[in-house]
């Protein structure tokens, strides 16, 4: 009996302690702190880091050569302006004067040159494939970087934004392994503590070129908990901002939190390999195209927060081609008929759908293909990326976060070397010419959008990809965090405030 009394006393003591702690945990001496629950980036060297979602986080520590605005147009950042030569195969970026990395070294033309060359040549670079247009980089003066191109390419200012040109300190990059753990950039914040897998603390960088518009003193990146407890974490003030999965939107709204649907370039697809049976038969590919009911993905994967798309972008994007919309409407009867006409024996139609992790989307594909008589087995392979990017798979799924440069998005999906083209070196006829034309059209030309859409149209002839749905980037934030600027695919830190 005495033991239980003791136990009760212990609990009471704990509760009292906890009560005291509640105040201590929240109080911070007048500094504004943004606590962001997030999947922490594995790499802090932008050259090594590989996905669009990670660059979003790295943008805390690094500034990029250019930025994009709400319309997705290239705007000044580290480079305050740029100009092309008459032919369009050389572009000169004019950097802001007196820029500095957080290690004190100068962010000048030589540093930009060193970065781009590193991104092209470093062995573990995830960016070299994006830089094929760049022939040479020359530091003409302290602030002028001249880039000679291998082809006429007006996309370079879009390309050298957050995804490809987050500039790293040349001094720090001499030890690339170290840089990958402790970033040295010229971004709005500087990392003060990094415990991989646990947390990253950052404080405001007074030397950031736009520091006057950074109103947050500290950022704490915290490893996101289970999806089910993210909302309660925001409710109790443990986090201020978090990425949100669609199934939690209702809970977040019920908890009186702000759900932010940040626009993006995202699009998901079913990747087919036309070099392998049975997709070497165009009728089978067409059957698959007609078999897909995109609305089911929107309803079950995105809980209605996404939109169906049959192109590598959402339908409101400038490169979306309205002429190609709904080219292959959902039609099971037609799909079955095409399959019968193809004459492919049933044994060839048994397919493995190889995906990196169990997903609702995979199950939807399985059931929709089963409905036209194509039996699909889902194979979860954690090592999926190796056969996928080696183009060894026959059927798989992919979702892109998109790129700032629409031409780059097109070549990634439809180009003969495109990383997202499971059927390389296959390329739809006419795509090369169409994409070259789009690339050669200045961004402010009245023909730009038409040429871009023509390139999309040519690309969509590709039998290697069936696009399914697009989903905005979902975030949840507490009321004390000001509105996020709706920059597609990114989060910009300028102007953001965190109240107390």
């Amino acid at each position: 009996m005495r033991r239980t009394k003791f136990a009760a006393a212990a609990v009471a003591a704990t509760l009292t302690l906890a009560g005291c702690a509640g105040g201590a945990a929240g109080a911070d001496s007048g500094e504004s702190t943004l606590r962001w629950a997030v999947t922490l980036p594995a790499h802090w060297d932008p050259v090594v880091s590989g996905s669009g979602a990670q660059f979003r986080i790295l943008s805390l520590a690094y500034a990029s050569l250019t930025d994009i605005n709400e319309k997705g147009e290239a705007v000044p950042s580290l480079a305050q302006s740029w100009d092309y030569n008459a032919k369009g195969d050389q572009v000169t970026f004019h950097l802001r004067p007196n820029l500095k990395f957080t290690d004190g070294s100068a962010l000048d033309a030589a540093a930009v040159k060193a970065y781009l060359e590193r991104a092209k040549t470093q062995k573990d670079s995830a960016l070299f494939g994006d830089l094929t247009s760049i022939k040479t980089v020359t530091a003409k003066s302290a602030t002028d970087v001249v880039i000679d191109l291998t082809q006429v390419d007006y996309q370079i200012p879009l390309l050298l934004g957050e995804r490809v040109a987050q500039i790293t300190s040349a001094t720090a990059a001499q030890d690339a392994k170290k840089l990958d753990q402790s970033p040295v950039g010229a971004g709005p914040f500087v990392v003060t503590e990094n415990v991989p897998g646990s947390h990253v603390y950052l404080k405001k960088n007074p030397d950031f070129w736009d520091a006057a518009n950074i109103h947050v003193d500290k950022v704490e990146l915290l490893a996101a908990p289970e999806d089910a407890t993210i909302v309660s974490g925001l409710q109790t003030g443990v986090y201020d901002l978090a990425n949100l999965i669609p199934s939690q939107v209702k809970a977040a709204e019920a908890a009186n939190l702000d759900v932010v649907q940040q626009p993006g370039f995202n699009a998901s697809n079913i990747s087919l390999n036309v070099n392998k049976k049975p997709f070497d038969n165009p009728k089978v590919v067409d059957a698959v195209r007609y078999a897909i009911n995109r609305q089911e993905f929107v309803d079950k994967v995105t809980f209605g927060y996404g939109k169906a798309t049959d192109q590598p972008f959402p339908s409101e994007y400038l490169a979306y081609d309205p002429q190609s919309a709904n080219k292959y409407p959902y039609d099971v009867a037609k799909a079955k008929q095409l399959l019968a006409e193809s004459g492919v024996p049933a044994s060839d139609l048994k397919l493995n759908l190889v995906v990196p992790a169990q997903s609702t989307a995979a199950e939807i594909v399985q059931s929709q293909l089963a409905a036209i008589g194509v039996p699909v087995t889902i194979k979860v392979d954690p090592n999926w990326a190796t056969p996928f990017f080696a183009k060894d798979l026959t059927l798989s799924l992919y979702g892109t976060t998109g790129r700032e440069s629409p031409v780059q998005t097109l070549t990634a999906h439809f180009g003969p070397n495109g990383p997202l083209n499971l059927s390389t070196p296959y390329e739809p006829e006419g795509f090369e010419a169409a994409v070259a034309k789009a690339r050669q059209t200045p961004l402010d030309s009245p023909d730009y959008q038409a040429n871009l859409q023509a390139a999309t149209r040519a690309g969509l002839d590709s039998r290697a990809l069936v696009f399914t749905y697009s989903q905005p980037n979902l975030f949840v934030k507490s009321k004390k965090v000001s509105a996020l600027t709706p920059i597609p695919g990114q989060i910009h830190w300028t102007g953001l405030t965190v109240g107390s």
């Binding site: 033991r3 009560g19 062995k123 670079s125 995830a126 908990p225 109790t236 990017f389």
Partner: protein, 319 residues
């Protein structure tokens, strides 16, 4: 006593070494068989076969299997577990950082388990066959089948969101204040402790009830010893063996089984690290986890054996 301890220690080491060798060797072999590589973790969309080969060469994965294993083992003896494929971080450091968090939570869970487990167990045994005993036994059965993620979420809903007594997630090191530290680990520790409380309570109850039936207890009663003396000198010492053993088994479980609790409470502990690493196919990290787990299990078994020998005289004779 010391001699027996020493033999026990030697015997444990004799078991530990081959188990350890086989376990690590098998993990290594699994990597070779599975074809997992750090390349895709690193390259993403740029994972062309050439780039993959280049990165594998960088990591020395194109060397013969045995060379790799022996190399790793040599480094291990120097306390170096290598670097993670996923983020290139030092694994020994990550494991220590994670273990501090997990030990905090598991330690508190163990304390709760001991206090409440013993409390309920003793109470049930003292009031055996009464309604108190039945209520406790029923309650213990109930909490032992509650999955910790359900308990965790319920605790968050009630104590963090509803009452606002505790933070709902995160971890703050003890250097930043004992109160804050404790506040952050209370809910996860409670969620984690349910299993321990119920197991210890049930084992203790049956151990004590059995001990009460022994002749020496009847003898003591006949000799007119006070109930308290009978309980502490005769019943408890002889009846707590099974409960202690369960407790010894529990600690490694608490550490390893904390995956769910840690992910619900957003804590970067050992269990979460283990699960994440396994999911990512981060082989060196998984091997590091394995090494530490094997050591933990052995150390705790040893500890329990020592305590058992000291507390319950009978166990010294057997085992």
């Amino acid at each position: 006593m010391t001699r027996r301890l020493l033999t026990g220690l030697l015997r444990s080491i004799a078991i530990f070494v081959p188990v350890f060798l086989v376990a690590t060797f098998v993990t290594f072999a699994l990597r070779a068989l599975s074809g997992l590589t750090p390349a895709h973790l690193q390259l993403g969309e740029s994972a062309t076969p050439e780039a993959v080969a280049q990165i594998e060469h960088q990591w020395g994965l194109d060397r013969p299997f045995l060379t790799q294993y022996l190399d790793w083992f040599g480094q291990l003896l120097h306390g170096d577990l290598g670097t993670s494929w996923y983020n290139g971080a030092n694994i020994s450091r990550l494991l220590i950082e994670g273990a501090v968090i997990s030990l905090s939570v598991a330690g508190l869970a163990l304390v709760i388990g001991v206090v409440f487990g013993f409390g309920f167990g003793v109470l049930a045994a003292a009031r055996r066959t009464t309604w108190v005993d039945r209520a406790i036994t029923g309650f213990m059965t109930f909490i032992s089948v509650m999955p910790s993620f359900v308990v965790g979420i319920a605790l968050v809903v009630v104590f963090a969101v509803g009452l606002g007594w505790f933070p709902s997630a995160g971890y703050v090191p003890a250097e930043r204040g004992l109160g804050v530290w404790l506040a952050h680990i209370v809910l996860p520790a409670v969620a984690l402790s349910f299993d321990t409380v119920s197991d210890v309570a049930r084992q203790l109850r049956s151990g004590l009830v059995a001990a009460y039936r022994e002749n020496y207890v009847t003898g003591a009663v006949v000799r007119g010893l006070s109930p308290r003396r009978i309980f502490f000198r005769h019943v408890l010492r002889n009846g707590m063996g099974p409960a202690l053993t369960v407790l010894g088994m529990k600690f490694p479980n608490l550490l390893g089984g904390a995956v769910v609790t840690e992910s619900i409470f957003g804590m970067a502990g050992f269990g979460k690290f283990a699960a994440d690493s396994a999911q990512r196919g981060d082989v060196p990290a998984v091997q590091g986890v394995l090494v530490v787990s094997v050591i933990l299990v052995v150390v705790f078994n040893l500890l329990v054996n020592v305590i058992l020998v000291r507390v319950t005289p009978a166990s010294a004779r057997g085992v």
